[in-house]
């Protein structure tokens, strides 16, 4: 059991406005954790800080034991909410790209998963449907043998059948040494697979708890609790 994410008094302000205030989070290995919160709650800011795309204003953040940098990036697999891939590349080219930069990338696994979807390696990303492009992005991330997977809205904008596929892929890829952090709005689809949930609002962590414990204590599903907690 190792700590894969540790935030201590993490604060990030843009100009004078704080997007994250004194955030304290510890994520242990072997968990699937949901990061839930309304728009503008600081989820994206937290995710960018984890990935080294932003620097903290104060406080500290440690990812897989390293401050965000080259060493942490080797161990983090990030799926942003919008496609960041060069569409002129073919599937094979993007797989080779990932192989080149990530030592932990498993190309056979990637090709296997894509074959099951009927996506040929020669296809250009441009030619794929939106749903298939999202699946390819997920496959690339899941084919990495990372310690921390950060998925930003992996099932938003995707049809229900594709959501099932994505959820199955996440489960199939489960590694007790690693942790998956899923940031999403679509709670009811995803709550069954979560170990823990972090509720975040206005830059503060409102709650971090085991999901079954929440159900036990509140007699409600996560979806219902979310609606209550974040009621306007």
């Amino acid at each position: 059991m190792s700590v894969l994410l540790r935030c201590e008094n993490l604060t990030k302000s843009y100009g004078g406005t704080p997007a994250l205030k004194d955030v304290n989070i510890t994520l242990e290995s072997g968990k699937i954790v949901g990061l839930l919160g309304p728009n503008g709650s600081g989820k994206t800011t937290l995710i960018k800080l984890i990935n080294g795309l932003l620097t903290p204003t104060s406080g500290s953040i440690e990812v897989a034991g390293f401050a965000p940098g080259v060493e942490s990036k080797k161990r983090v697999a990030y799926l942003p909410d919008n496609s960041y891939l060069n569409t002129w590349m073919s599937v094979k080219q993007i797989v080779n790209y990932f192989c080149d930069f990530y030592e932990d990338f498993r190309p056979e696994l990637a090709y296997q998963m894509m074959a099951k979807l009927g996506i040929s390696p020669e296809v250009r990303l441009k030619a794929l449907s939106k749903g298939n492009k999202e699946k390819v992005c997920l496959i690339l991330i899941m084919s990495r043998n990372a310690l921390l997977y950060v998925l930003d809205e992996p099932i938003a904008g995707v049809d229900p059948a594709a959501r099932d596929y994505i959820i199955s892929t996440i489960l199939n890829n489960y590694n007790p040494e690693a942790t998956v952090l899923i940031s999403t709005h679509l709670i009811s689809d995803i709550e069954k697979i979560l170990d823990e949930v972090i509720f975040i609002n206005n830059g503060n962590v409102v709650l971090q708890k085991n999901v079954d414990d929440i159900r036990e204590e509140n007699g409600k599903s996560l979806d219902e609790l979310f609606r209550e907690v974040f009621r306007w």
């Binding site: 620097t55 080259v70 942003p80 930069f101």
Partner: protein, 272 residues
């Protein structure tokens, strides 16, 4: 990792450069073909001149294209949606900047060579042999007039000035783009503004220097004469000093732009 970055940077450029260079070479070949029909007719005079204008335009366009590619690669690969991939690679910002700039300068050089080849193709035959003969004659005269050792050093220094000049121009654009990224909105516009500000500063400084220079010549003519005599007496040293001075200035400028870009990326990055 740096090797891999280079590999992919070159691959990305290749995709962009290929159509342009094919066009440049193609126009060279077409020019040559048209020149085959050399005669005194009006048709030839018009098409001959047109095609040569086209040839020259093509070489300029090719050069401009390389500049556009270099700026585009920096901006698009690091600050558009691609930035989400680039900056989550296990690569430092310094490595990104260095790989991009070196690739850009090297390929610009190759593009220049291709342009020269294209011109040679266009001019092949009498025109080419005459040009080459003239060039060789010039070089011989140069070696006769100047002392050999100094000339070699001059060549090295001038080469450095030119190479560093390419880097200098590129790093200026990098710094402007990076400065633009610190704004919340209209980042491209802010980059352009940064460039204008730089231009203004250069203009102000140049004007100040010109004023100082003019005033000195007027107010202290004996001093200026002494300086002029000194330079004439130590001609070689003076040129070396001047060239070295330019090189040092270029290096400092490149370092400044690099520090600006690097710091902004490391501390102030905020992708959309």
């Amino acid at each position: 990792m740096v090797k891999k970055l280079f590999k992919h940077e070159f691959a990305a450029y290749f995709r962009l450069m290929l159509p342009v260079e094919v066009a440049v070479l193609g126009i060279g070949i077409i020019t040559r073909i048209i020149m085959l029909f050399e005669n005194d007719s009006i048709i030839f005079k018009i098409s001959g001149v047109s095609v040569w204008i086209l040839m020259v335009l093509a070489t300029f366009a090719g050069s401009l294209a390389m500049l556009i590619f270099a700026v585009m690669r920096y901006y698009k690969n690091l600050f558009s949606y691609e930035g989400y991939l680039s900056f989550t690679l296990p690569v430092t910002p310094a490595q990104h900047i260095i790989v991009k700039s070196v690739t850009a300068v090297v390929l610009d050089f190759i593009a220049t060579i291709i342009a020269v080849i294209s011109l040679c193709i266009a001019a092949s035959g009498n025109l080419l042999t005459e040009s080459v003969k003239a060039g060789v004659y010039l070089v011989q005269k140069l070696f006769e007039t100047f002392n050999n050792t100094h000339l070699v050093f001059y060549i090295v220094e001038i080469a450095l000035v030119l190479i560093l000049g390419s880097f200098e121009k590129l790093f200026l654009y990098y710094a402007c783009i990076s400065i633009g990224q610190t704004a919340k909105k209209h980042r491209v516009l802010m980059a352009v503004v940064a460039y204008f500000v730089y231009d203004m500063i250069v203009w102000v400084l140049t004007t100040i220097f010109q004023i100082i220079f003019t005033v000195t010549t007027i107010a202290a003519p004996e001093f200026c004469e002494k300086v002029a005599v000194f330079i004439t007496n130590h001609a070689y040293a003076s040129v070396h000093t001047a060239l070295s001075g330019i090189i040092i200035f270029e290096i400092l400028f490149i370092a400044l732009c690099f520090v600006i870009s690097h710091t902004i990326i490391r501390k102030k990055l905020n992708l959309e």
